[in-house]
């Protein structure tokens, strides 16, 4: 996988929505991820395969179930490449300000 795979995987609102759902609740089955989404099971399966190929989602077997986990490491690699250590506190403050002002908190 490459940075291109990561950006391509992220360039789709449905896939970002799946990552948001894993971010709020990690380790979900395909069935759980499909609940309340306006997507067919086949579409979700396809999107998860693209996210897994980009290493943004990893899976673990748990008994008969396959659980999906968000893997933020490739996104962190991209962030480190351009952001660097000195800007981190300032960016965190700006990002917090934006979330507070816009009233949306994805944490």
């Amino acid at each position: 996988m490459s940075d291109d795979d990561v950006f391509r995987a992220l360039a789709d609102a449905s896939r970002r929505q799946l990552l948001d759902r894993l971010h709020s609740e990690n380790g979900q089955t395909l069935g759980e991820l499909c609940q309340g989404l306006g997507m067919t099971r086949q579409a979700v399966t396809k999107h998860l395969a693209i996210l897994e190929a980009a290493n943004l989602v990893s899976t673990r077997r748990h008994g008969r179930e396959k659980l999906h986990f968000i893997n933020p490491v490739p996104i962190n690699d991209i962030a480190e490449r351009w952001i660097g250590k000195f800007e981190r506190p300032r960016l965190a403050a700006l990002s917090k300000l934006k979330r507070t002002l816009e009233g949306e908190d994805h944490d």
């Binding site: 996988m1 609740e25 990690n26 380790g27 979900q28 089955t29 759980e32 290493n55 990893s58 673990r60 748990h62 179930e65 659980l67 986990f69 893997n71 933020p72 490491v73 490739p74 996104i75 962190n76 690699d77 480190e80 490449r81 660097g84 250590k85």
Partner: protein
């Protein structure tokens, strides 16, 4: 997570190196300090031995035990926080580190789990692991660190 009562995070990165070099990077204090924010581990890496993660100033951050050590493939640790009472009270988590050679690189998977829903410890370490792994990848692939310590 909904499927079990445990809290689990799984981190995966692919590093262009050998399993032996990656194992050394994961287990040598000299190397660990370079990518783990100046921290180092104290243990002899034998199953049953004690394990400690130590801050640069000598305070103990976390303690535990080596459960399995199969170099250069698999390492399992019992892991408990020592410096925050609300984390320490959760008891021991389990950290499984797996190295798998794939196409000239090594797939490094870190699974950190606690048998509690919404574990505060797992929440606390979840912010650290991606940064540690980015540092480690950068250090092994380029000889430089992405972050200072």
């Amino acid at each position: 997570m909904t499927s079990t009562v445990a809290s689990t995070f799984v981190y995966v990165t692919f590093i262009r190196t050998t399993p032996e070099q990656l194992w050394t990077a994961l287990t040598s204090s000299e190397f660990t300090r370079q990518y783990w924010f100046g921290m180092h581990q104290e243990t002899d890496w034998k199953p049953g031995s004690s394990w400690q993660l130590v801050f640069p100033d000598g305070r103990v951050a976390d303690t535990g035990e080596i459960v399995e050590a199969d170099p250069p493939k698999r390492l399992v640790l019992k892991w408990r926080n020592e410096f925050k009472p609300e984390l320490k009270s959760e008891g021991y988590s389990r950290c499984t580190i797996e190295l798998e050679p794939i196409d000239g690189a090594v797939k490094l998977s870190i699974t950190h789990t606690m048998d509690l829903p919404d574990s505060k410890l797992i929440g606390a370490v979840s912010g650290g692991w991606p940064r540690i792994l980015s540092n480690l990848k950068s250090l092994l692939e380029t000889g430089e660190l992405a972050l200072g310590t």
